[in-house]
């Protein structure tokens, strides 16, 4: 079994993890165009090389980030998302349609 190292729980069988997609910069939903938002939601870069992805350790419901080479499928590093996300992001409620 392939082993992945969870930053919270340590090395675990890969079957305990769920893939969550590429890490992408979210456009501001209040100001971006519909095309930009659709690109963010639906499209993937699908690069060959080292990418940063969201993964979840399913038994603990813990989301983290992993750097993985998409050619060799080697997992180079896993880390807590607090390294990148250190502030709470609040979204203003959209104004009701007139």
């Amino acid at each position: 079994m392939k082993i992945m190292t969870c930053p919270l729980n340590g090395p675990r069988n890969i079957s305990e993890f769920t893939y969550g997609g590429e890490l992408k910069q979210m456009p501001d939903p209040a100001t971006c165009s519909v095309a930009e938002w659709a690109d963010y939601v639906f499209n993937s870069e699908n690069l060959l090389g080292v990418v940063t992805e969201w993964w979840m350790h399913t038994p603990s419901n813990y989301w983290f980030l992993a750097e993985r080479h998409t050619g060799s499928d080697e997992i180079l590093r896993t880390f807590d998302p607090r390294e990148l996300f250190d502030q709470r992001v609040d979204f203003a409620a959209p104004e009701a349609a007139q």
């Binding site: 079994m1 919270l8 729980n9 675990r12 069988n13 079957s15 305990e16 350790h57 399913t58 038994p59 603990s60 813990y62």
Partner: protein
């Protein structure tokens, strides 16, 4: 007075598997009684249903301070458990999430009261996680626990790597589960928390895995 599970609102998800086993009350909660004569079985290999014992979770950046104000001792790091003086266990599942297991000493009354007494306060990031109906709670005991878990779990649960007070969140018999090393001075015990709706399956899977070690279901009497 004879006790009948069907007359109680709080029912273990696997109550129908207990057959004609004698029952006992802890407060108003029903458990398989067992007997003190079972202590030899518990030392060898036994499976006990504690699903009716209260348990609850809290999560949020203010949860640690909230629980400390309530008088709980908290584990220093995630994936550790801390035994309280009254027998409750406080599990720390992540930086900001705690899982509290009730004690057989008071029938879980303290945990049940703390769950009932929680109120949402928008100035505090401390959120209640009801666990009574999400998880089933089984206790496994006996000298063969590491060998037993080696059959059904990918994590090494021998004493060298899984000492007293350690917690692992992993897959057990293909179910997501939380395992706690809660050994006492006289008895090796692991607590196992799993999806409540799958408890029926896991009970059978565990008994099947225990078979070669002479494992049997038991009651709470010898555990108290």
């Amino acid at each position: 007075m004879s006790l009948t599970i069907r007359e109680h609102a709080e029912r273990s998800p696997i109550y129908d598997l207990h057959g004609a086993a004698p029952l006992t009350l802890l407060g108003d909660r029903l458990f398989v009684a067992g007997s003190i004569d079972e202590s030899e079985q518990l030392q060898r290999c036994a499976l006990i249903d504690l699903s009716n014992l209260p348990r609850v979770g809290f999560r949020g950046t203010d949860s640690a301070a909230y629980l400390q104000r309530k008088g709980y001792q908290l584990p220093e790091k995630p994936n550790q458990a801390c035994l309280q003086s009254n027998g409750e266990q406080v599990l720390r599942l992540s930086q900001t999430e705690y899982f509290l297991l009730g004690s057989l000493t008071d029938g879980g009354a303290r945990i049940a009261a703390d769950e009932a007494g929680w109120h949402y306060d928008e100035r505090q990031a401390n959120y209640l996680l009801p666990r009574q109906d999400s998880h089933a709670w089984l206790a496994l005991s006996g000298a063969h626990l590491p060998e037993l878990f080696a059959k059904i779990c990918g994590v090494d649960l021998r004493a060298e790597t899984f000492p007293l007070g350690a917690v692992v969140q992993t897959s057990v018999a293909r179910l997501n589960a939380i395992v706690v090393n809660a050994c006492t001075a006289t008895l090796p015990v692991f607590h196992l928390l799993c999806d409540r709706a799958s408890a029926h399956y896991l009970w059978g899977a565990l008994l099947d895995a225990m078979d070669e070690f002479g494992g049997k279901p038991a009651g709470i009497e010898a555990l108290r």
